[in-house]
Symmetry: D2
Amino acid sequence: MVPVSALAAAASDAGLVRAALSGRVTALRARTSALAAPLSDEDMGAQTMADVSPAKWHLAHTSWFWETFLLEPHLPGYAAFDPRFAYLFNSYYEALGARQPRAARGHITRPGAAHVRAYRAHVDIALARFLEVCGEDVLAGLAPLIETGIAHEEQHQELLLTDIKHVLSVNPFNEAYSHATPPPAVGEDGPDWLEYAGGLDRFGAGEDGFSFDNEGPAHTAWLPPFALASRCVTNAAYAEFIADRGYETPSLWLSDGWARIQEQNRQAPFYWRGAPGEWREFTLHGERDIDPAAPVSHLDYFEASAFAEWTGYRLPEEREWELAARQSNPASARAMAPDGWLHPAQADQCSLFGGVWQWTRSAYAPYPGYRAQPGAIGEYNGKFMCGQFVLKGGSALTPPGHVRASYRNFFPPAAQWQMTGLRLARDA
Amino acid sequence: MVPVSALAAAASDAGLVRAALSGRVTALRARTSALAAPLSDEDMGAQTMADVSPAKWHLAHTSWFWETFLLEPHLPGYAAFDPRFAYLFNSYYEALGARQPRAARGHITRPGAAHVRAYRAHVDIALARFLEVCGEDVLAGLAPLIETGIAHEEQHQELLLTDIKHVLSVNPFNEAYSHATPPPAVGEDGPDWLEYAGGLDRFGAGEDGFSFDNEGPAHTAWLPPFALASRCVTNAAYAEFIADRGYETPSLWLSDGWARIQEQNRQAPFYWRGAPGEWREFTLHGERDIDPAAPVSHLDYFEASAFAEWTGYRLPEEREWELAARQSNPASARAMAPDGWLHPAQADQCSLFGGVWQWTRSAYAPYPGYRAQPGAIGEYNGKFMCGQFVLKGGSALTPPGHVRASYRNFFPPAAQWQMTGLRLARDA
Amino acid sequence: MVPVSALAAAASDAGLVRAALSGRVTALRARTSALAAPLSDEDMGAQTMADVSPAKWHLAHTSWFWETFLLEPHLPGYAAFDPRFAYLFNSYYEALGARQPRAARGHITRPGAAHVRAYRAHVDIALARFLEVCGEDVLAGLAPLIETGIAHEEQHQELLLTDIKHVLSVNPFNEAYSHATPPPAVGEDGPDWLEYAGGLDRFGAGEDGFSFDNEGPAHTAWLPPFALASRCVTNAAYAEFIADRGYETPSLWLSDGWARIQEQNRQAPFYWRGAPGEWREFTLHGERDIDPAAPVSHLDYFEASAFAEWTGYRLPEEREWELAARQSNPASARAMAPDGWLHPAQADQCSLFGGVWQWTRSAYAPYPGYRAQPGAIGEYNGKFMCGQFVLKGGSALTPPGHVRASYRNFFPPAAQWQMTGLRLARDA
Amino acid sequence: MVPVSALAAAASDAGLVRAALSGRVTALRARTSALAAPLSDEDMGAQTMADVSPAKWHLAHTSWFWETFLLEPHLPGYAAFDPRFAYLFNSYYEALGARQPRAARGHITRPGAAHVRAYRAHVDIALARFLEVCGEDVLAGLAPLIETGIAHEEQHQELLLTDIKHVLSVNPFNEAYSHATPPPAVGEDGPDWLEYAGGLDRFGAGEDGFSFDNEGPAHTAWLPPFALASRCVTNAAYAEFIADRGYETPSLWLSDGWARIQEQNRQAPFYWRGAPGEWREFTLHGERDIDPAAPVSHLDYFEASAFAEWTGYRLPEEREWELAARQSNPASARAMAPDGWLHPAQADQCSLFGGVWQWTRSAYAPYPGYRAQPGAIGEYNGKFMCGQFVLKGGSALTPPGHVRASYRNFFPPAAQWQMTGLRLARDA
């Protein structure tokens, strides 16, 4: 990925910026639509738990985002496709007024999926027009906003897959979202430890290249020496934890986590089915035997923390992970997974990225000097800095080019439906 | 309606019975499908509150009912369309095994609506075949079961409309299910009182003609003299109750009802919108001004009871209503409503039936001598005889020919989404 | 019990009425206080579930009742003990203003128990003074209100015991409320059937003697022939139902009842502990082996109904029970239980009364012609006529002289903490 | 306070250590009992919300703690006062077995308060005996455990006051816990800013003197330059925030906080009553006018965060506070409040400590290198490191000598019943 805003600052040829943006936006929009292609209109409307948004809602919301933040303010003469959509497809922006309650997104049978596809086309056309007619200076000034729009829609591409996985999983037909070829089996090795000296260093995203506001500002912090496991915890290791009565041993668990697994009578990760010795899991490719050598996924924070406690190691701090990941290429993360494979593949020893989002023990909090932007866009990240944990690395569902070392994903500790796992850390 | 089972007992020409049954089943099945025709596949999948079942589910469940109770046991060689449907489309029959949780019927994105339509066609064909090939004696013996299947599907025709009304009502598009012509305006008169002497009489359904098991056995009971209003309570009268601070006067309410309206901050019937003086209501024909002379609908039992208390009168006993209704023709009930009009029309002075289901103050309980039938079919009615009230009369959504004087509908006192109103009674 | 209001109508000597009332009120008030004597101040303050009221609250509420309905309106110069008590000790009278939320009665640490005892003394003295100075005519006119006050406090005497049983039962010390001598063991016989011809008869309380408003008016009704078991269902019979997998057989249960026992994973009556073959139960005399020949108690309506279904019989109608009980003497009910024994004793073959409140299958509804009294006192019974079932007979905790054949107790079907059991009925 | 374990390491005279420990333990135990003295036995038993523990429970639990961790393992021949207390008074130690559910602590009417006082006396005597007879070496080794016991009971002294405040606050009598003399009025000044250069520094508790395990290990961290307000936010400033529509301005609030205040319709801090311009608050000295110049208290994290956002400043990081507090004397914090005054007094310009616990924006997390201790005592702090925020400084209810700069208190963001406020911070 060429960071466009950097280009914007430096390039002598503004046309290159325009072309790059156009190409990326076109590909982005097409990919979102393509992700919905295997789904029926009915699949696209269902909300099977409060955390899940219907696929149709993702298709519409990502169009509303462009319409609201870019087209309406900046494309002269642009008319909103349907003024009622401002209520239906606003996610959580208080500054933009009332909206459909989150838990009632599944009630939106109208507009239908076809109507939403027309909405997407309307916005696609207007985006193309905007990128064609917008003046050079204006375009350069709007590049960060456009990059945010791209990154935002990429996040929803991943959420669409995460959410439709849940929809298919609760359906007794047990059907697959796609029928890709599974990756080849690889031998399972114990992890190596990668050691780091720590010390005083700079962290967070700087000025070059796009990043979300929560990744900055760049700042100094001190790290003691530490080590990270060279790969994520595997299904085999996690099955061993279960077999060793991990879910029955309170001393391994955070207090809130122990209360939850007792209350819900949990014995295994969210999508695991069956019983010890014969675990299977529901995937976007249907129900399958677990792959012992692949990273365990769909753990909540409590499970990740209990597993780490059981090993005697711990979860990483987010800055430990960031420091280590500077030497990794995000693109390498998915190298071992065949194209179209939407499940964590066997762990790559060479990259911190990929496979599963990795829980850190860092609460999601503002970096020193952070201030949310003014206006509605300032609600993007800052107002969620309470009660969540930072995850690093990206998953098998993350769009190519979306992540980087400074990227901070965040979820509440009880979230299970995301593709979340862990990498062990220790003091060195 | 010609009561077929009576015919079966008497007719010299068994072919007539066969033809009558065939004709009725064919028309029934076609009507159910036709009711779903105005809906998109997405409309048909949504479950907007736990009480609501998706339209698709009604289409499938009514097919499953025929398949399970008639075709599988009695049509040689019949193969279930899809064995997984037994789990998905069993409503509440414990004797038939596990089933999709009621509140998760909206999760069934698969099978899709097209798949369910194919299921209906499969069952339709098999039903036709069964009615063609079934031996005369067998057919005569199964006639009561077939009548139950017809009545069952008719109940779901009404529920489908009730439920889709809720789905459309929570959609901000405020769209109509149909665009029929409204009935002509009629002057509004206060009700007359119809007086009855009571005494010792017979109640409940006897042996002639089809009835549900909960309508019988026929039995003797004593009624003191009483009077019933000649028509149902109108919107105008109910608006007056509201204007007289009915919702703020605890002495009018049953204790549980008062607690509910306080907790939910209720001020008007379920589908009313706006404010005193300018009430509108959501109907299957879209949002409309209330018609002052039409029966008020979508009251729960508590509202009906509080309104009656406010007038100084009371709700009827179910047997009072039944006795009075013997002189009414159910078919006359809808005489004033144009064809296709799916909302209570201005009240007919000549019939106890029609417009709205009328709450009685009789708890839904077994009649003397009642025993549920053995087997799964025995779960149809008996196991719900606790915590519900009997309603009489039928509504603007009730299929033609479905009701009779002995018919007992029943809902919990807090139910609001059904087309429920009231007729006043008093001691004479 | 001499019905005082009847006496009032007839007696030539008004002083006798005054003396009778004085004697009864004095004994009543003393008995309530005596029931609290075995309890510590802390026992008297606890509310261990929302249905339970603290003993202290019962002591105060019964005093507030006299103060509010008798002393303030009718004793010249009477000053309320503490005006704040009107908020704290009003139970549910909307007409009398705001009050402490029911579920927060356990928060009332102040006034303390000693303060409440002083309140009782204050009211006792005022009651005595009232009964001494009140003019003859006034007294005769107020006799029905005084009888209501007596019956009301008797109801709370039973509730105090019911509630303190729950408080003690959740305490791990497992301590007894009292150490009375258990009744002697009696041989266990199967029940005989008492047959009744039914027909047209009068039911409900008439004008002679005190009764609650919900027991009237007297009215005509028709009953088919029926039979009642000569005694209540025993612990032995109920244990057999459990052993026969009663709690695992859905066809025996009402739908709501089956949902509840599944959700709560219930296997036995509320206060039973242990396991099949070695059942024990918590009683006001501590934890004890169940007595096979004593009536089973603390069943909810669903358990009573399922048991009856299992036997092939049914629960009685309330009027069946009333008709049969006219030949029973309420006083005989407790004949076999030694004085001070607060648990159902082995069943008396000679009386319909006693031991346990007996669930009927009659919903609690107004009798024909019933109207609640105007004013706050009208809230006593009428506003609860929804969602509850009638129970007949009285229990081992019911004060002597409190019940009669027309008496209608009522509880929601899920209530378990009351001393409730059943007597079987059948069509004859 | 003389750090006893330091003494233990250094003193030539071991008798001095013994005497110091004995004196402190005796005073500690007497103070806990004295705090309960103004309460009736009934006050001591009530649990008015799930977070609140009854005063009696605090008295017993602190005794159980000594019994379980010190006396049973280390005092030869010690017999537990009552073996049933292990179930009743274990707070949350999974390693020590089952226990009374937290929300049911108010059900413990038995043992009564007198019984619990006897328990305290039993443990007091045994503690005295232990401190007399324990060998020198053993005593030195156990000094850290004894210090933990002291600090633990001091924490419960504060909780007892916090909890009884809630009990009294929900009582309509509005009575005071104590009638101390309020502090003199002081002029209200805006805060000064205290500036700090930050940089690389050491944080957390080291080896000298007692500290909880969560305060260590001492570690290096980097802080950018910052400033802290010289005093806590006052009631006057907070009232201004309310008047400026702070509770109606979503952009000031964290997402979870906005959802909560909407849902609960909140307009002011937890114990405030009345309306703008005439605010009063419930205190342990009864309901009083708010003191404009005193620190605002009983804010939850969301309120503290929204207030800071409104000012344009922010909440401190916990290490900023610690660094600043090193120059403050904890003992000075309460200098301006008269003895026995249990409410935040007007702010002292000279100390970071006192008045209110101050929310930091630091999530409660392990310090680098932290490991919980093995065994039950390891459950003291570590298992709560999720979903809570660190608070610094101590409150008007904190026992003298209990806090220090490294002290980390922690509560969930929604906690309101603790004496919590805030001090503003900014980047320098």
